[in-house]
């Protein structure tokens, strides 16, 4: 029988895939080879000039990338630890379990930009309530947003607050789906809670943990709204991340061609680094 007509059914999906994924990537690559900006509004061809500029004359991009790595890795580690602890807490039979489950999810349900505006108000060094409260007990004022080091931790605090519930949700779903038998066996053997966690819960949760960490790393590496609203990348460039830098180059300075170069390079780096991270995590967390 001739089943060639089956390919016809693939076309709609293929067209959608080309439209929403392949075309933008190809367009970005083409744009990255042009000098499109406010004074040259055309898709001219300048070869790899933008790439040479990026690799030889733009330390700010690389600084922002390493800053992003620090911020995303540290926030995801904290989110994982706190999210796991909270998930374990409400996994057990405790009072008001349902209430706590909803409460823990609230930060994730709020709009990031609006919550960041509220956090910015909290952390406002002279008018915000945080320094006011700390002042009552003789601490501060702490320069939450204007000290280059502290500002990074302020960004981490806001990110952890906002996105730990996501980690909590994934890990709680994982915990609820675990088989009961290994836990019963451990209980019969008289294993302590700690040993149960180390030898049963954690290994069983490893595949879900890796998935959750990778998803959050992908999301965290796109951090933009928190930085934009909270610090605008400042003080100086102390909290500037790759996506914020690309936004500045593209939509503030209107260097469209160069911003496309940054975006494509960033995409390649992220694909490579996340693949490596996933493999390393699998090796570390999943024992055959």
């Amino acid at each position: 029988m001739n089943f060639k007509h089956k390919y016809v059914f693939l076309f709609p999906g293929l067209f959608v895939l080309i439209g929403i994924l392949i075309f933008p990537i190809i367009f970005t690559i083409r744009l990255s080879l042009s000098g499109w900006n406010s004074y040259t509004p055309e898709m001219n061809f300048i070869g790899i000039t933008n790439y040479i500029r990026l690799f030889t004359d733009d330390p700010r991009f690389w600084e922002s990338f390493f800053r992003l790595s620090f911020l995303s890795v540290s926030t995801v580690i904290l989110q994982y630890i706190i999210g796991f602890a909270l998930a374990l807490m409400v996994w057990r039979e405790i009072k008001f379990k349902r209430f706590f489950r909803v409460i823990f999810l609230i930060p994730m349900m709020t709009t990031p930009v609006i919550m960041t505006v509220i956090w910015r108000t909290f952390f406002h060094e002279s008018l915000g309530p945080v320094n006011d409260l700390l002042g009552n007990i003789g601490i501060g004022p702490i320069l939450w947003l204007s000290d280059p080091v502290i500002a990074k931790f302020t960004v981490i605090i806001v990110e952890v607050w906002q996105w730990t519930p996501f980690m909590f949700l994934l890990l709680l779903a994982g915990l609820l789906s675990l088989p009961k038998e290994p836990f019963l066996a451990a209980a019969i053997d008289g294993a302590s809670s700690f040993r149960k966690f180390v030898y049963v819960t954690f290994p069983l949760m490893a595949p879900i943990s890796i998935g959750a960490i990778i998803i959050r790393l992908i999301e965290a590496s796109k951090i933009m709204d928190t930085v934009f609203v909270l610090t605008s990348g400042g003080p100086g460039t102390a909290t500037e991340t790759s996506s914020f830098y690309i936004y500045i180059k593209g939509l503030r300075e209107f260097q469209m061609g160069y911003a496309a170069t940054l975006s494509f390079t960033y995409l390649v780096i992220m694909i490579i680094s996340l693949t490596i991270i996933a493999k390393v995590l699998t090796k570390l967390m999943i024992k055959e």
């Binding site: 004074y39 060094e125 002279s126 400042g234 003080p235 100086g236 460039t237 500045i248 209107f254």
Partner: protein, 511 residues
Amino acid sequence: MKIIKTCLTAIISSVMIFSPMAYADKWSDQFPHIKATGDIPGECSYESMSKKNYKGKTLKINTHAVPVMGEPTALHAEQFAKLTGAKVDVTHTPAGDLYAKAMVPFQAGQAPYDIVFGFSNFINDWRRYLEPVPKKYVEMKQMQDVTPSHIGIASWDGVMYQFPVDGDRHYLKYRKDVIDNPKYQKKYKADTGKELRVPRTWKEYGEMAAYFNDWDWDGDGEKEYGSAEVMKKDDLMYAAFYSRSAAYSKNPKTPGGFFFDLKTMKPLINNPGFVEALTDWVEATKYVPPGGINFGLGDEIGSFGGGQTLFSFSWDDAFVAAMQPDSPINNKVGAAQLPGAMKVWNRESNSWDEGFNQAPFFVWGWAVGVAKKSKEKEMAFDYLCFFANEANHQADIGIGRFGVNPFREADFKADVWTQIGWDKDIAQSYVDTLAEMEKSKNRVFPLRVPGTFEFNAALATAAAKALAGQLSPQAALDEAAKQWEDILNRVGKDNVRKAYAVGVAMEDNKL
């Protein structure tokens, strides 16, 4: 018969005498925004606009977020719609995105907006996509009163592309109740050996700000601070830096460029004048309120306008906000020109010229144009003309949050301001300050060249690094100058030189 004649004459005379008032009442009843003046006759008055019929037509406007400029745009759009029958769609956009929101469709050959608001320094990038202001508007009465500086800012090579709706400059605002207070004058003299007065130089500004920092000098139970300044990167902070640099770097003896040497196009922003200004600014981080290094324009307006600091300098908005009837420091503020310096860098002799120097900075402000591809150009220009008509303008300039500031000769009369409740001496000092700036022959105008955004962003990033302690002032400005060289090479020196020459001619009083 004589009695009837006399009565008729009296009635006719009364009608003639009081008709403008009746006229005014008619429109101010419907539009309370102009209740103080009523309608003022003119080509774009309420009366004139009511005779236009734009029923069935839609005008699309992209403006800034509410309230600054966004609120008056929306208000006048609503009034315009009522008067002419037009439908007016107003889109509000954050300041940082105004440029791109217009530029993307401009470059794609589209006109999603008939009218686009932005900053006056966009003019060089935008002008090829904007319709020049038609002759009939340029020659009308309300335009004749616009100051030559602001006509220059709205124009390029003699062609007006931006319809003047706002006038901007940076100047000093200070707490009059402190600086003029004999008790504090005596205390300051005793503690420092110096006079407490409106600072003449940035050094004096710094000394006074440091002295009045971090203690409760107005007795409200809260600590006050020395100065509120726009120091947040990407939030117009480069304008604040240029203001601080002008006195040290704009030397009237060396015409031919403030930002670049027009002959060689060598960036001047890392010369000792600019470095001195940045060094002062780094010092200023010690006398701003906690978190002041992250203050954007809104924070600066709120901080000074809320009575938190002794000094501030930037656009008019903070001053007008401080003078609003509900402000805690209403009638307690004064205006003066930007401080000067006791030396100015001479790039020709490569040395400092000693002596007092002052240079007002005519910073960019709100600007608006009509898209060349708009299908409703006539209606668009009528709207802008209506926006800036005399009645609207007088009402708008008295509302701090509107961001509409003086740009007409008539605005420089103290009466305009005393009518809205300002003390006479404050109003006088305000209008004198603005008028003196107009008269100055050592002015600095904003950079308006291809790639303006790149130049300013590079400078802002470098200055922000210095303020955050990441780099020394010299290293930061060297980095900025290097980036300016790179931008020049990308854009083309001759392209930049050609555009920069227009601004330099204004600075050198040749236009």
